[in-house]
Amino acid sequence: MSPLLEFRDVTLRFGGVVAVNKVSFSVEEGEVFALVGPNGAGKSTVFNLISRFYEPAEGEIIFAGEDLLRHPPHDIARLGIARTFQNIELFEQATVLQNLLVGRHRHRKTRAWSEVLFTPAAREEERRHREAVEKVIDFLDLQAYREKYIAGLPYGVRKVVEMGRALAIEPRLLLLDEPASGLSVEETQDVAFWVEDIKKQMGVTVLMVEHDMHLVSAVSDRVLALADGKTLALGTPHEVQNHPKVIEAYIGVADESEKVLA
């Protein structure tokens, strides 16, 4: 069976800097796949390539047999890929409920005019959207925040809302960009459980970028290590953590930072 997502020799340059250098990997349907690596390794860039925010110079990105590079950014959600952002990009002046409902946009079937008139068909569809969103709210325990505006919510809750908004899309592939960064130990544990449930109960494939190696080892089936835009190692969490190149990359970075300080 062909993989769900496949990168084939993808290269991206910003001016003279090579941000992603001939990266190839594939994510199988139903697995949790993690990207790790030091800062600036090109992990978030990989996500932005999938979201079509960046245009690669070379290579192919295939999702479920579709050539992603032939689709504009707003098509990606319709194809079944949802994502979260490293620095949280929620709709600040809207409630949690409204944020999650925006996630339903790819399932929108009514036309603008029927929504302006709010025809019975529009109401029926609206009920369906809300039913789907309430399931996500139950899953992530967001009931207490349903009607709250994002602008007043604490950081941890925002992270969860962002995950909920991505789940409201009902994706086949979920991209999580540092889901546990800035969270407490308890909150990180919640994230681990959720990722497990997303994979097992919902049958959603997860691709995530994460620095917390405990979380990565706990939930991921395979791990890809990147450094300076290049692939270092691919394998189980244990294999990758003990890979000599990975250790060198992390310690090498530490060395450099020491030089800067001295």
């Binding site: 950014p73 959600a77 990009e89 929504e115 709010f118 529009a122 602008a151 007043g152 908004r165």
Partner: protein, 364 residues
């Protein structure tokens, strides 16, 4: 504080959150309907003016407050609606057709403007729309055979099923017509707010990047927002033409564009209430000032004549609002209401984190 127990999805979808909520708005509507029997024709004229400005305000609010796209050019679309309606009427079309058509034409003009400008953000979009407003003013003068140039056009009397609707002849009837349009626009606005369309507008306003990731087509959404916004503004323009009776390029200058934007900021961005509050200020300010001035003149025994007083007072009020109440009159109203609902538990920093809608666009 009232707690509403929601037992169905419709509780979130419906216009009113609970029975009392519906009661107050229906009572308000009832009062508005019987108003011509209670007020002098002059006062009814003033209320009509407020309603027309409110419609225009809702038009620009949809774009600025809901979708976050700044516009300093909406007077151009008032003009498109006004001229289109009167020209169609003069061509023999009945008002009942020319009026909606004028809205459609203004809407299409808005879409036509949106297509080349969707890539522009914040300040650049404001400037592009500003240019459109100035160009519209000049084009009206240049297109004299059609528009009458600086001499302007006369709005013919409206006739619907043989009944005349005239601002001076039958002020009550004209008022009801405007009220009907106002109610219809409010309902349409609420429908947009509670449907995927309105949420995609809010998504574009708050974060274009994640809106895209959610599958919202930014360019199309902006074009639809422009179209709906300018269509509503066009309807207001058509009514404005009939209210004024005679109009020319001066009726729709850049100053009117600026005033429209300032109006909804004073009222409170992002809410229907804000459009109405702002319209009340704009439409009644000249009256209030002249009354105050006459009163002051009587006391001092002289007549005070200082031109530009209205815009200066307007500017001063605006400066105070932006400095001390960026959420506008509606924002202040919410705070006062919450204070009484929660009495005595209101905290001063309750609304602390609510920032204003439009964000900095400088990209780094």
């Amino acid at each position: 504080m009232r707690t509403v127990f929601k037992t169905s999805y419709d509780a979130d979808i419906d216009y009113f959150r609970h029975g009392m909520h519906a009661f107050w708005y229906l009572a308000l509507l009832l009062i508005m309907i019987v108003l011509p029997f209670l007020m002098s024709p002059f006062a009814i004229g003033e209320v009509t003016n407020v309603l027309i400005w409110s419609i225009a305000g809702m038009g620009i609010m949809l774009l600025v407050g809901q979708t976050g796209q700044a516009s300093l050019g909406h007077a151009a679309f008032l003009a498109v609606g006004c001229y289109a309606n009167v020209l169609l009427q003069n061509a023999g079309l009945p008002f009942i057709l020319s009026f909606p058509l004028a809205g459609v034409i203004a809407g299409l003009a808005g879409v036509a403007l949106a297509i080349p400008t969707t890539r522009l953000h914040g300040i650049y979009l404001a400037i592009a729309t500003l240019a459109v407003s100035i160009l519209a003013d000049d084009l009206i003068v240049v297109a004299e055979p059609l528009t009458g140039g600086i001499n302007g056009l006369l709005a013919p009397t409206i006739e619907i099923f043989g009944l005349p609707f005239d601002r001076y002849g039958t002020p009550g009837r004209f008022y009801w017509l405007v009220l009907l349009v106002t109610v219809l626009v409010v309902l349409a606005y609420r429908n947009i707010q509670r449907s995927p369309l309105g949420r995609s507008f809010a998504a574009v306003r708050d974060s274009e990047i994640s809106a895209q990731a959610m599958g919202v087509n930014i360019a199309r959404t902006k074009a639809v927002a422009f179209g709906l916004s300018t269509a509503i503004t066009g309807l207001a323009g058509a009514l404005m033409g009939h209210f004024a009776g005679i109009f020319n390029n001066e009726t729709f200058t850049i100053i009117i564009s600026i005033q429209l934007l300032l109006m909804i900021v004073i009222g409170g961005l992002g809410s229907i209430h804000g459009a109405f509050f702002g319209a009340i200020i704009v439409a009644l300010l000249p009256q209030t000032i002249s009354t105050l001035r006459d009163g002051l003149g009587d006391i001092l025994g002289t007549t005070i004549r200082v031109p530009g007083m209205e815009s200066a007072a307007f500017g001063a009020i605006l400066i105070l609002f932006i400095l001390f109440e960026p959420m506008g009159i509606y924002g202040r109203w919410i705070k006062i209401r919450t204070y009484f609902q929660l009495f005595p538990f209101y905290r001063k920093d309750m609304f602390r984190r609510q920032k204003s809608y439009l964000k900095t666009e400088r990209m780094r």
